[in-house]
Amino acid sequence: MKYINHESVVKRMISRLTINKVFKVIFFFATLFALLTLAILFYRIITQGVGYLTPEFFQNFSSRFPAKAGIKAALIGSIWLMFVVAPVSIILGVGTAIYLEEYAKKNKLSDFIRMNISNLAGVPSVVFGLLGLTIFVRALSLGNSVLAAGFTMSLLILPVIIVASQEAIRAVPNDVREASYGMGATKWQTVVKIVLPSAIPGILTGAILALSRAVGETAPLIVIGIPVIIQFLPTGLLSQFTALPMQIYDWAKRPQQDFQFVAAAGILVLMIFLLIMNSIAIFIRNKFSKRY
């Protein structure tokens, strides 16, 4: 009456449990790989770049000599760029999200717009550069100005902002909308006074993350012909300018060894810029997020 061979069961159990443990370690190391890479990357860039991070680095324009090269034009240029990208992309993104979530009827047209947005998110940034080159730089003859680059970048990050805003608006429960209608508010009043205020933390968090993508994006700027060696600060929206990633790209490409350290210092400035933006996003998320 002995159907179960106790010994073979124990043996099989032990091997199965061992395999389980081995794989747990393997999966753990797979996760560790990404973390380790991140650590090496930060370590390399900090040790290479920190020596060049002097006050002069922020006061000088770029130069043929590594010791004199500075990041002033690029840093100010990136800030100018943000002043165009932030309002344009947020107005377009939030407007689209409000339309899709609050106004659009469930029909083929709104399905098409949604489908289009998810496809737009997958278009490579360099292709957006070609769009910007044709439409903004040439057809509207804005040249390689702050405005042309800003419009191009706004379209590039538009899908990200739309999706983030949609999620934030969707998270506002329907009860509060109905309560607002019940008090006699119109649709637009409800959107502006009830829905948007509670969705704003989510929208801003998503928008800032999208903007930080625009700060680091290089390829579209190269394609629309943003110059790298500029010895003046932008004077207006139609002025020529350069941006942080362009400047880093230029330095990283140069053959002299010393420029690698300058590039690393530039990357540090870029990363600090991004860190500040992300801290603001986290601060907003923690401070203003409201739960129903």
Binding site: T31, G95, V127, T218, I248
Partner: protein, 315 residues
């Protein structure tokens, strides 16, 4: 006291009378949806703009270069003075080399981390590791390019002495690191959405955690995992700065990963950062390459979309 406060404020009737500027209100209510619709249509216009731009300029390019020699040509020498050759296969080969290496790096590590995070890690570990992966995903690609050129390539050269300064291997690996967080986080989302009851059922039958992960959770989340990989491939194909900095600018139609290559994206960057005059064949060639690139990524995105839509399992 309370009485006085009430009388100080305008009565409800007054308020209604004040705000019943009805005509203006109705106008606003009618105008707003139209304005919002116009804003929403900008995203559609962007797509139309991209497609039209690429098609129009590519057609001009095809007036100079026959379509067949572009699609099947194995030589890409746009800057040759005498007989420039515009066959896109070398650029596609460069792109595919980098993409395949990236996938080889990213898929095992990405799915491995996803399984660890979703099946093995404690809540605390997950709460620490997920934001770090987000940081990795947020690093600008120019920084990865610099990392590939100044760290990964010299490191690999110690093991492979034949490796050139510009090669396919180093940017391939770094592109893999770049798309890893995407695979890890999307796959982890797919695995986490497998209901716990199924896991518990398998555990109750005496499965080990590994068996639960590989035989229950991964098959149930497979569509999400595959979709994440396809999306990541699309990102790798479109990646520009890493390959521009570390890949070189020598388009070659072969299988060598140790020598200099050029991808479709890197070619567009090379032409744009030089000064190819407006209206030359070289100028239009970046649109034809861009169009090819766009089609590649579009197909990948549509596949990913179809997979996650069609095979989504509902519990």
């Amino acid at each position: 006291m309370a009485q006085k406060q009430v009388t100080d404020q305008p009565s409800v009737q007054e308020l209604i009378a004040k705000s019943s500027n009805k005509k203006q209100k109705q106008l606003v209510e009618k105008l707003i949806p139209i304005i919002l619709f116009i804003i929403a249509s900008i995203s559609v216009l962007t797509t139309i703009g991209i497609v039209l731009t690429l098609i129009v300029e590519t057609i001009i390019f095809f007036k100079d270069i026959p379509v067949l020699s572009f699609l099947f040509g194995t030589e890409w020498y746009p800057f040759a003075n005498k007989e420039p050759a515009f066959g896109i296969l070398p650029l596609i080969a460069g792109t595919l080399k980098v993409t395949i290496i990236a996938v080889i790096v990213a898929v095992p590590f990405g799915i491995g981390s996803a399984i660890f995070l979703s099946e093995y890690a404690s809540d605390t570990t997950r709460r620490i590791i997920k934001p770090i992966l987000e940081v990795l995903a947020g690093i600008p690609t120019i920084v990865y390019g610099f990392f590939a050129l100044t760290f990964v390539t010299p490191l690999l050269q110690q093991f492979i002495p034949d490796l050139k300064i510009f090669n396919a291997l180093s940017p391939g690996i770094v592109v893999g690191i770049m798309i890893l967080p995407m695979i890890a986080s999307l796959s982890e989302d797919a695995m986490s959405s497998v209901p716990n009851s199924i896991r518990e059922g398998a555990l109750a039958m005496g499965s080990t955690k590994l068996e639960v992960a590989l035989k229950v959770v991964v098959p149930a989340a497979l569509s999400g995992i595959v979709a994440s990989v396809v999306l990541a491939i699309s990102r790798a194909i479109g990646e520009t700065m890493i390959v521009s900095l570390a890949g070189g600018s020598t388009p070659k139609f072969d299988f060598d990963v140790t020598g200099s290559i050029q991808t479709m994206t890197a070619y567009i960057v090379q032409v744009s950062s030089g000064d190819a005059g407006y209206g030359t064949t070289i100028y239009y060639s970046i649109y034809s390459v861009g169009f090819t690139l766009f089609l590649f990524t579009l197909v990948m995105n549509l596949i990913a979309h179809a997979i996650s839509k069609k095979y989504r399992e509902e519990y």
